[in-house]
Amino acid sequence: MKTAVIVFPGSNRDRDMFHALELITGTRPASVWHTETSLPDADLVIVPGGFSYGDYLRSGAIAARSPILKELVKKADQGVKVLGVCNGFQILTEAGLLPGALMRNAGLKFVCREIELETVNNATSFSNAYQKGQVWRCPTAHHDGNYFADAETLKSIEDNGQVVFRYANGTNPNGSINNIAGVTNAKGNVLGMMPHPENLIEDLNGGTDGRLLFESLLAQAA
């Protein structure tokens, strides 16, 4: 599986993502700087976590208007898989690739802790290696992860099965509506999520629960 990671000024989880992808796919991902105007041929493009542009204006707002994002929107339209984690999720909502918005955490504080996720839809390219209803551990670290969508959007994403992961067992760290932790676009080829599956992929991390997300994608590409 060929992968690429987009890097912005202020990205800080890009190396975690490179490491996870190289370990799991066996191939080194391409690194793409935000000012580039074309993306390499890849099965999966990742927008990693961090604080692109210092979260100026709104988290992800400036990055979503950078040159490479135009190209990413084109690739997503063509069906290329796109994964945004944390700041990447914020960037994808700001770019209009995903529904809803991510607001300041309800508790106003930055949260850095492990939470539990329930895979509520395992029929997506990103979640097929999990069991439906499977609850798994995942690290989180963010200040603006409070997912919001208006009533109409919420109904449509729930009805379409676009909600893939929910915070489970009372571990919602940010006040997200309906405990939503990860959503896809209508077509199902773009996923955004606040927690960091790339940080729980080998025993050194204290667990491998996040690995199944990447293995789901690998199974799709095979």
């Binding site: 709104r58 707002a61 909502t93 700001e94 300041r104 106003l108 969508a149």
Partner: protein
Amino acid sequence: MKARVIVTLKNGVLDPQGKAIEGALGGLGFGDIASVRQGKVFDVELTGSDKEAAKAELAQMCEKLLANTVIENYAIEID
């Protein structure tokens, strides 16, 4: 030409920062507050002189960047 763009959260969108400010004002003894909501102000200086054209351009700026219309409304004021 000077313009001011005011961006506010839509009704029904929770504003935890506004709530915290509301609580802090209450703590300072301001007892007659019904609610506080936080917004943003952008002062934009434009080089043109056509007010209508400027208004249209500012609306585009809001739609494309200054506001996230999923959660925010905007208002434009021109001197």
